[in-house]
């Protein structure tokens, strides 16, 4: 059985190697037609077009050669434009010195100035986190040639097919390898993959690298994106984008790791139901339904993604591509989004705790509970971390609310989002810095990339503004608690160790206190790993939620009462 597991791992690894190495292979051949379409949309500089025409069109180039060329030509083009502007500026200076009628001078200066201003349009804006994504990627995507492009079906099976098959074999063999059903965390703290050892570090580098490419340099992911092209065409009729690749990978990874969860926790109905539900919401609501909407020419919309996690819900409302530019269904989506955040979320948190969202519905939570499950023990339980957590997560909530407030202000005041509002900042600046800092870096690169170092809920614990909002409701107005079973705790620490949110569950349990913490996402693992049956997640009457259980003492006296009186 061990051999079967290793074969599975090998198959999966092969898939990953093919997938990853495809980044470095394949060529791009930009045809005249592709070039014309692309340059007419993206480029205003004639210098660039002319130069690129010579250097790029109909040449066989690797992805990096193509990217470098575009960057170089763009730089040269910009230099050329600056030179032209400088020349014009010189002419202005000269003109000012000539001894002709002031009126004529003014007219000429004005004309030169207009030319200078026009030239600004020819500048190609270069920013490390935007250029590759917005300028280079579309051309690279359209011009890919080479084996993966020509054999998309086979390439899909060699990458996703092998990785998924191998993963299912490897995790499936755990059914026998782990022994009889029960908590089998054997060796987790001793294994290099799960104790920040060398395998963990490789995983860390791989995750971070992938997210950096995905968010900022998708021009290098063209071949991986082509692997799912046929799936995308079949679903929505559109060619695959980097986001389709991400969505498909997300669902695949969650599915394979859900198999692992189903086997690992096959004795625990709560874990089985929860895993199945969160997987369903990911595949149906975050992947299939939005793609089907797109197939019907409707906006891509994830109906379960609640603001402020869905931070751009109110962006560009009345633009063509904004929700209000999309007719009835767009309006419905907007109203649904508002009702979801203002009514459904708090009401559900009141009855069930924030777990209904965080570990039953949410995509981020879904990944954390599947791919992230092997890393849950790595979250820090120190008081210091808790302090950082509270500052950070509430800080992000304030940031999200402020940004959205500004967005709505510009909408209702009918100000263009790029117009300066104060201190040289426009609403657009705030939105894009939120998108960059929080949306990409925090939730993606750090939030998932750091699983193997900081545990699997980095984003949910330290960053998610929706989690912060629900946490406040959970803390102050909810029926949810983790009940501590009288005096049965032996302070062993399994609960704290396996709490992905870094809650020191034991510190409550050993005192006989129920656990009511805003960060608890109700994954139920503390209860599962408890060897003495001490913890139970439940929704009960609010009034007894924080009761300390005097049974604990065993002595027939309420010590707490006495302590209070002594003070």
């Amino acid at each position: 059985m061990k051999t079967i597991k290793n074969i599975g791992l090998l198959i999966s690894l092969t898939g990953f190697i093919i997938f990853t190495s495809s980044i470095f292979t394949g060529t791009n051949k930009v045809s005249q037609e592709i070039f014309d379409t692309w340059s007419s949309q993206k480029i205003k500089s004639a210098f660039f077009v002319e130069k690129a025409q010579q250097e790029i069109v109909n040449k066989e180039l690797s992805a990096s050669e193509l990217s470098n060329k575009i960057t170089q030509i763009a730089a040269a083009s910009n230099q050329h434009t600056y030179d032209l502007q400088a020349e014009l500026q010189q002419k202005i200076e000269q003109t000012k010195k000539t001894k002709i009628a002031q009126q004529v001078i003014d007219k000429r200066v004005q004309a030169y100035q207009a030319q200078i201003n026009d030239l600004w349009n020819e500048i190609i804006w270069m920013k490390w986190n935007k250029t590759s994504k917005d300028l280079i990627y579309p051309l690279a995507r359209a011009s890919a040639t080479g084996w993966p492009q020509q054999n998309q079906g086979l390439f899909f099976w060699l990458t996703f097919g092998l990785a998924i098959l191998g993963g299912v074999i490897a995790f499936g063999s755990d059914y026998k390898l782990l022994g009889p059903a029960g908590i089998k965390n054997n060796g987790i703290m001793q294994h290099a993959a799960t104790n920040r050892g060398w395998i963990g570090m490789i995983a860390f580098a791989y995750f971070v690298g992938f997210y950096v490419l995905l968010y900022f340099f998708p021009n290098y992911l063209v071949n991986p994106i082509l692997a799912v092209n046929k799936v995308s065409l079949g679903l929505s009729g559109n060619p695959s984008s980097q986001w389709f690749l991400y969505g498909f990978m997300y669902c695949s990874v969650m599915s394979v790791f859900a198999v692992r969860m189903f086997i690992k926790y096959r004795h625990n109905a709560y874990q089985l139901v929860r895993t199945a539900v969160v997987l369903f919401f990911q595949i149906a609501f975050a992947f299939l339904i939005p793609e089907i909407l797109v197939a019907f020419n409707k906006p891509w919309f994830d109906f379960k993604n609640a603001w402020p996690l869905d931070y751009d819900l109110f962006f560009d409302l009345n633009k063509d591509w904004g929700l209000l530019g999309q007719g009835q269904i767009g309006l419905f989506m907007l109203v649904w989004g508002i009702v979801l955040t203002l009514v459904i979320v708090p009401v559900m948190v009141y009855f069930f705790g924030k777990r209904w969202y965080c570990s039953w519905v949410c995509g981020c939570g879904g990944l954390a509970e599947t791919l992230g499950d092997p890393y849950r023990q790595l979250s820090s339980k120190s008081l210091f971390s808790w302090k950082i957590e509270r500052w950070l997560i509430h800080g992000v909530l304030v940031f999200a609310v402020g940004m959205t407030g500004l967005t709505l202000y510009t909408y209702f005041a009918e100000i263009e989002s790029w117009q300066e509002i104060a201190f040289g900042f426009s609403a657009y600046d705030i939105q894009s810095s939120y998108g960059f800092l929080i949306g990409s870096i925090f939730s993606g690169v750090i939030g998932t990339g750091f699983y193997p170092i900081l545990g699997n809920r980095v984003w949910c614990r330290f960053g998610c503004p929706l989690a912060a909002y629900m946490g406040l409701v959970q803390k102050f107005k909810s029926r949810f608690r983790i009940t501590t079973n009288g005096g049965q705790c032996i302070s062993c620490g399994n609960c704290s160790t396996y709490c992905e949110q870094g809650i020191d569950v034991r510190s409550y349990a050993q005192k006989g206190q129920n656990i009511v913490r805003s960060s608890c996402v109700g994954c139920g693992v503390c209860s599962a790993v408890c060897p003495r049956g001490v913890l139970k997640l439940e929704n009960g009457p609010e009034e007894n939620r924080l009761d300390q259980n005097p049974t604990l003492l065993g002595n027939d006296v309420d010590l707490l009462e006495l302590i209070k009186n002594n003070k």
């Binding site: 009940t483 032996i490 302070s491 620490g493 049956g533 259980n549």
Partner: protein, 443 residues
Amino acid sequence: MKHILIIGNGVSGITAARHIRKLSQHKITVISAESDYFFSRTALMYVFMGHMKFENTQPYENWFWKKNNIDLLNGYVSSVDAANNKVLLSDGTEITYDDLIIATGSKPNKFGWPGQDLKGVQGMYSKQDLEKLEENSKNCKRAVIVGGGLIGIEMAEMLHSRNIPVTFLVRESSFWNGVLPGEESAMINKEILENHIDLRLETNLVEILSDENGHAKAIVTDKGETIECSVVGLTAGVSPNIDFLKNSAVELGRGILVDRLLQTNIKNIYAIGDCAQQHEGIGQRRPIEAVWYTGRMMGETVARTICGTPQEYNPGHWFNSAKFIDLEYQTYGWVWAQPKENENRFYWEHASGKKCIHINYDKNTHEFIGINTFGIRLRHERFDTWLNNKATVEEVLLHLKDANFDPEFFASHEEEILEKFNSENNTQLKVKAKSWKRIFLKA
């Protein structure tokens, strides 16, 4: 301000220290030779199994002690000079005290087996034992565990988790059947065997054989069998760790004799936890109780006495729990291995053979006496209330859903349980739906 010296930083000593700090400004010093900081002894097995790191077994972060002004001292107390209120450490240091709390716990029993001190032979009690096992279990082809108690099965599970073949010698005819009724005991036997642990019932150790390096190489059983092994776990119970008091004025029995205030024969010396022995068992309890919970209770109690509000140690209703490999066990009240004269039993077992409940009640009054459960978690507070109220077995069964503490979505078996009870007792009980109101009704 008194200086309170506590020997032992296990759950008893540390609980006492924490509660003395809550109640007073006394100077507190805790001495231990085992570890710098308090850790949960019951969790050592999980460190070996790789579920946790040692630091995860420490319930308080290291800054906690300084912040709470509790002095920790790493040292080994070699004797107590009660007349002069001081203790002597093995390095020659003397420490004086106003009040002394002895919380030195237990040590594994050794019964004079030939070869019991060979290399590779060990108990499983302390942090040092854990480190020793880590060393001994390297390249181990087979381990033999001697003694069928809680530590024995834990040690078997530990070694088994590293795929080391284990032979498990148990003196009794069925595992732990001196404590558990036959049905539960049989269920554990099955669990042990299903995990491919070589369980030998009614088998005793005769001697441990040595190789040329003074290392254990095999054991011989009283059935005449020789079993090759390089690790021998001696887990035939524990006894109070009190050798350092042999020549002191403190009165000793098997443990340190204490009264209900946990005071020894010397006024300012107290003993708590595993090492303390009541002159007479309280209620149906044994005079020495080597259980986590009782250690904690004694720690809380002695803290109050020392801080000026003397309180007798008055443990409430008995409860306990354990996990036998994958089988969770809880108990509330008393369910003896053999029913007493006035007792009736009701037993239900799930078809899977992994879950059961066993209820003990009075034959005549039907008063509920206690319950064992395997594979089903129960609410402590509910049973405490029922025991306080002298509820009948019927009342308990009717409201069994109130007491269920299994995680959500778990299959529940109350209907089936009552059906069995009805058919055995000609009753018509129908289980009531769970009621939050009843659960929170204070007795």
